[in-house]
């Protein structure tokens, strides 16, 4: 059984990781796809305007990567703090 302090440290580490992931989540969708869309649209990648690309393609690719990144980091945290399932 893990110690309460260790559980607390695990939870704090988790919250930090969640916060970091949510910042990326916000930037690629709300910031690049909506708020800065006009500015980014000045840049063209192939036939795509960049802001439009983030809004209709890029944000979704990054969401997928983000979840797997979180899952793998959490697996390591589970082991490090000794709270993984039996």
């Amino acid at each position: 059984m893990s110690q309460p302090t260790q559980r607390q440290a695990y939870w704090t580490a988790n919250l930090k990781l969640v916060a970091m992931c949510l910042v990326i989540w916000f930037v690629v969708s709300y910031l690049f796809g909506i708020i800065l869309v006009d500015q980014l649209n000045a840049i063209k990648i192939g036939g795509y305007r960049l802001g439009f690309w983030f809004a209709q393609q890029g944000s979704m690719y990054i969401f997928v990567v983000l979840i797997f990144f979180y899952a793998s980091r959490m697996r390591k945290l589970d082991q490090k703090f000794n709270v993984e399932e039996d």
Partner: protein, 593 residues
């Protein structure tokens, strides 16, 4: 073989497959019926979640929405995928650790209150019923085209199929059927997209085709589309038409709502372990993103094909518009369903399709002798279904699309009906009315609850308050404003107490419901709107669909304030919260039934 026979064969074969699976994997115990015995592999669950999630709205309506809204439809793309990030990071692993059958059960235990559980059940049922309306309409559209009957009959046929299907299922049957349905729908969606992308840009991958040049030219497809729609008075495809605030809030409402939708959350109760719940959300999003990144290409290309079919030559030239008598076969087919309507306003026998509400284009149109837009009805929902015909694809592709649309609608309807019926049988009947009910009777109650839900959903599907995706957006507002905050605070705020949570849920739910009804009519009854549903009347320009995020904010705020002045939760509840925060001991938690 003619199209109708072929479509019958393909759709019939897929139905036989689903029913076969449902019989093979039918549930014998409540644990199997509610959470498939918690034995579903995370990748399999991801695929089932994708089918559960991708509804008639995603399959049929979304590309149509994108086709007509252009850039503004990004809110649906980001909103309906970004919610999975929230789900994976904030809810799914902890709710899996909690290890119970329903979302309301968590709320009831975490807030040690039957009243909280009851409020959650009401929110869950309202959100799910609203959501199922869109599925019924989608089924109606697909059937009316496929069986060539009118829309209402289509909904009736859909109800009958869903009825057989949902009562057979249970979570175990539904899970494996949804996996099959995912395969059908994704194949049906991507095959026409690949053909169309090849036709227009020479690139077989739609996601790349959308960013490529038109075949044989050096004009990017999106630039060409901007040009064509602009020439006919419509706003540029890639330009923003909504306000930034409204786009922001609508995206946020859809994301929070996605993470708060009970039928989606429930799917994560079926995996064996906590870490599976995290990765399974990732897999779900992979399978969803395959369709969601294809949809923008389908939408843009469908719009381009439609415009070019009707506007055959230069805008304003004497023979630049399609002669009505020469209209293609697909045009006639869709006219039969009433979803496509032409009216020869200037009596020239040709079709003019342009934006007659554009003041700047009106003068030009008058000089051409045009007397109004003659495509009086172009239902957005038909874009995906008509797409293969518009692009002259072979008949088997058209048959496949019909089967795919039905797979999408049926899989989601089954998931929603399961969420509704488990809430009634497990939370209301077993949880409140008669806790000693036998397992067999609980199963029976669940099946009866389904039947009632289907009838209500069918009626509302025939009298929907808007086109399918918009109705669905309302469900998201409710899930966002009531369920998501209660779940998140239950996990992340150890001091959130019963009164705070209940006040928060009620504030979120009522503010959102009232805001929606204010502009859409009380309970969507036409003529009871308190104000016209236009941007000038909206509070700070926030559309009713976007209000869920505001409602969620009000929920968080009021719950927090109330919890400050009311007693903290008892110690065993605080221990419960500490316990769900770590994966350890999930197997033990799950066996506590």
């Amino acid at each position: 073989m003619d199209l109708k026979t072929l479509t019958f064969l393909v759709v019939g074969a897929t139905f036989a497959l689903y029913i076969g699976i449902a019989i093979w994997a039918r549930a014998g115990t409540t644990k199997e019926f509610y959470v498939a015995g918690t034995g579903v592999h995370p990748v399999a669950n991801g695929m089932a979640t994708a089918a559960d999630w991708m509804s008639a709205a995603s399959f049929i309506s979304m590309a149509g929405l994108i086709a007509f809204m252009g850039y503004d439809a990004s809110v649906y793309l980001m909103g309906w995928t970004g919610g999975y990030v929230l789900l994976a990071l904030l809810l799914a692993p902890y709710l899996r650790k909690f290890g119970k059958f329903t979302v309301s059960e968590f709320i009831g235990e975490r807030y040690y209150s039957k009243a909280a559980r009851m409020v959650a059940v009401v929110c869950l049922v309202v959100a799910s019923v609203t959501y199922v309306i869109g599925q019924m309409k989608g089924v109606g559209v697909a059937f009316s085209r496929f069986l060539e009957v009118d829309f209402h009959t289509g909904v009736f046929v859909g109800m009958a199929i869903v009825f057989i299907y949902a009562v057979m299922g249970g979570m175990k049957g539904i899970t494996y059927t949804q996996i099959a349905q995912y395969c059908v729908l994704i194949f049906a969606y991507t095959v026409p997209a690949v053909f169309i992308s090849l036709n227009l840009t020479g690139n077989p991958i739609p996601q790349l085709g959308l960013g490529s040049d038109m075949v044989g030219t050096s004009v990017p497809l999106l630039d060409k589309l901007d040009m064509i729609v602009n020439d006919l008075g419509f706003a540029a495809y890639t330009a923003q038409k909504k306000t930034t605030l409204d786009m922001f809030l609508l995206t946020l409402s859809l994301m929070i709502g996605t993470a708060g939708l009970p039928h989606v959350i429930m799917r994560f109760f079926t995996v064996p372990r906590v870490e599976d719940a995290r990765s399974s959300a990732g897999w779900a999003l992979v399978f969803i993103a395959i369709l969601y990144t294809t949809a923008p290409a389908v939408g843009a290309m469908a719009r381009l094909n439609l415009m070019e079919t009707i506007q055959t030559g230069p805008v304003g030239s004497a023979d630049g518009n399609l002669i009505y008598a020469d209209r293609p076969e697909w045009f006639k087919n869709w006219e039969l369903t009433g979803l496509l309507k032409f009216e020869d306003k200037n009596g020239d026998g040709r079709i003019q399709y342009y934006d007659d509400k554009s003041a700047t284009f009106a003068e030009k149109a008058a000089s051409f002798g045009w007397q109004g837009n003659e495509m009086v009805t172009v239902d957005r929902d038909i874009m995906v279904l008509a797409n293969p015909e518009i692009a002259n694809l072979p008949n088997w592709v058209i048959a496949l699309v019909a089967a795919g649309g039905l797979a999408a609608a049926l899989s989601t309807a089954a998931g929603l009906l399961l969420a509704i019926s488990t809430a009634i049988s497990h939370d209301v009947i077993k949880g409140m009315i008669s806790p000693d009910i036998s397992e067999q009777k609980e199963l029976l109650a669940s099946r009866l609850a389904m039947a009632g839900a289907i009838v209500v959903a069918g009626y509302l599907g025939m009298n929907p308050p808007g086109f399918a995706a918009q109705v669905v957006a309302l469900a998201f507002g409710l899930a966002a404003s009531s369920i998501f905050p209660a779940l998140m605070m239950g996990i992340f705020n150890k001091n959130m107490d019963n009164i705070g949570a209940i006040v928060g849920m009620l504030v979120g739910l009522l503010s959102t419901l009232i805001y929606i009804f204010w502009f859409k009519g009380w309970f969507f009854v036409p003529g009871t709107e308190m104000a016209a549903n236009t941007a000038e009347n909206w509070f700070m320009g926030i559309s009713p669909e976007s209000f869920g995020a505001v409602g969620a904010g009000l929920n968080f705020l009021s719950a927090y304030l109330v919890s400050k002045v009311t007693p903290p939760p008892p110690e065993h509840i605080q221990h419960l919260v500490e316990d769900i925060r770590v994966p350890m001991g999930a197997a033990k938690a799950a066996s506590h039934h």
